[in-house]
């Protein structure tokens, strides 16, 4: 399986995603420059974290007009796997590949800390390898991860299993104190209706090795591998 990590001007977690796939998982991976017009040859596209175009205007608003995004949109339309992490999640929302929006954290501060995620849907390509009820310990690092969707959209998403991760306490309870940024219904990650596009604020690529404090992020990538192999 071959992963592609998109590099926008201002991406800064591209290296980390690349490192996890290549050095930790031992899978194939290449960078994709934002001016590329094709993503042919890749099986999963990762939009990494960072500050594409400085996050000026709005996070992800300018990156989504990069040449590469046209092909990412059609890749996703054809069922291709797309994972947007942090800034990548913001780009996916701006590009209309996922519903809702992300804006300023409710306490107005950038926050970098480990969070616990409750997995709400095990039937996506990104979560299919996870044990039911197992919390994921994965860090966040963002200033604009406060998720919003209007009530109708939210209802629709809940119904079709598009809420994938919610912030929870270490005991797995979804409470206000576990919510690090004010996100609606503690939402940390969502997918599209087809389930092949996932956006999440927490950084699984930062939780892939014991030395970094958690290996849970690797499980998401393992799921991707599993579902890809199953689909062949």
């Amino acid at each position: 399986m071959k992963f592609g990590v998109v590099v926008f001007p201002g991406s800064n977690c591209d290296l980390d995603a690349y490192h996890l796939v290549k050095d930790v998982l031992g899978e194939q991976v290449d960078y994709i420059w934002h001016q590329e017009e094709s993503v042919a040859g890749f099986d999963c596209i990762v939009l990494p974290g960072g500050f594409s175009y400085g996050d000026y205007l709005r996070c992800g608003a300018i990156a989504r007009f990069s040449p590469v995004m046209k092909s990412v949109v059609s890749f996703a339309g054809g069922g291709g796997l797309v994972l947007g992490i942090c800034n990548g999640f913001q780009v996916l929302l701006e590009a209309g590949l996922l519903p809702g929006a992300l804006y300023r954290n409710i306490n107005l501060q950038f926050r970098c800390l480990f969070t616990h995620l409750k997995v709400e849907n095990l039937q996506t390509p990104f979560t299919v390898g996870l044990e039911a009820g197992r919390l994921l310990k994965i860090p966040i690092a963002h200033g604009e991860g406060n998720y919003y969707a209007d009530p109708d959209t939210l209802r629709r998403m809940e119904k079709s299993g598009q809420i994938v991760f919610r912030y929870a306490t270490a005991n797995g309870e979804v409470t206000d104190t576990a919510n690090p940024n004010g996100s609606l219904a503690n939402i940390a990650g969502v997918c599209n209706e087809m389930k092949n596009v996932l956006g999440m604020m927490p950084h699984p690529e930062r939780a892939g090795e014991a030395a970094l404090g958690s290996e849970d992020g690797r499980l998401i990538f393992k799921s991707i591998l599993k579902s890809w192999e199953g689909s062949r």
């Binding site: 205007l57 608003a61 929006a101 409710i106 107005l108 209007d150």
Partner: protein
């Protein structure tokens, strides 16, 4: 030459944490009469267009495609001929 003065605000239905913070700060400075503060963005875009009508259409298009995120933001604008 036209200049569009565009104001972008979070929708009423969306919580504005910055506005909230400023509202509280004003309150603690003794402005107890302040009832609401909302913080947004102001953009000036200078451009050429054949007519006012054409200019307005372009500003709307720019605003909806790039300058705002319609999921959470509303905008208003004024056009000035320069």
């Amino acid at each position: 030459m036209w200049k569009a003065e565009i104001r972008v605000l979070l929708k009423k239905s969306v919580l504005d944490p910055q506005g909230q913070a400023v509202e509280n700060a004003l309150g603690s400075l003794g402005y107890g009469n302040v009832q609401d503060v909302r913080i947004g963005k102001y953009l000036e875009v200078s451009f050429d267009a054949g007519s006012r009508q054409e200019a307005e259409a372009q500003v709307r298009e720019m605003s909806e495609r790039l300058l705002t995120n319609p999921v959470i933001e509303d905008y208003t604008f004024e056009l000035v001929e320069e």
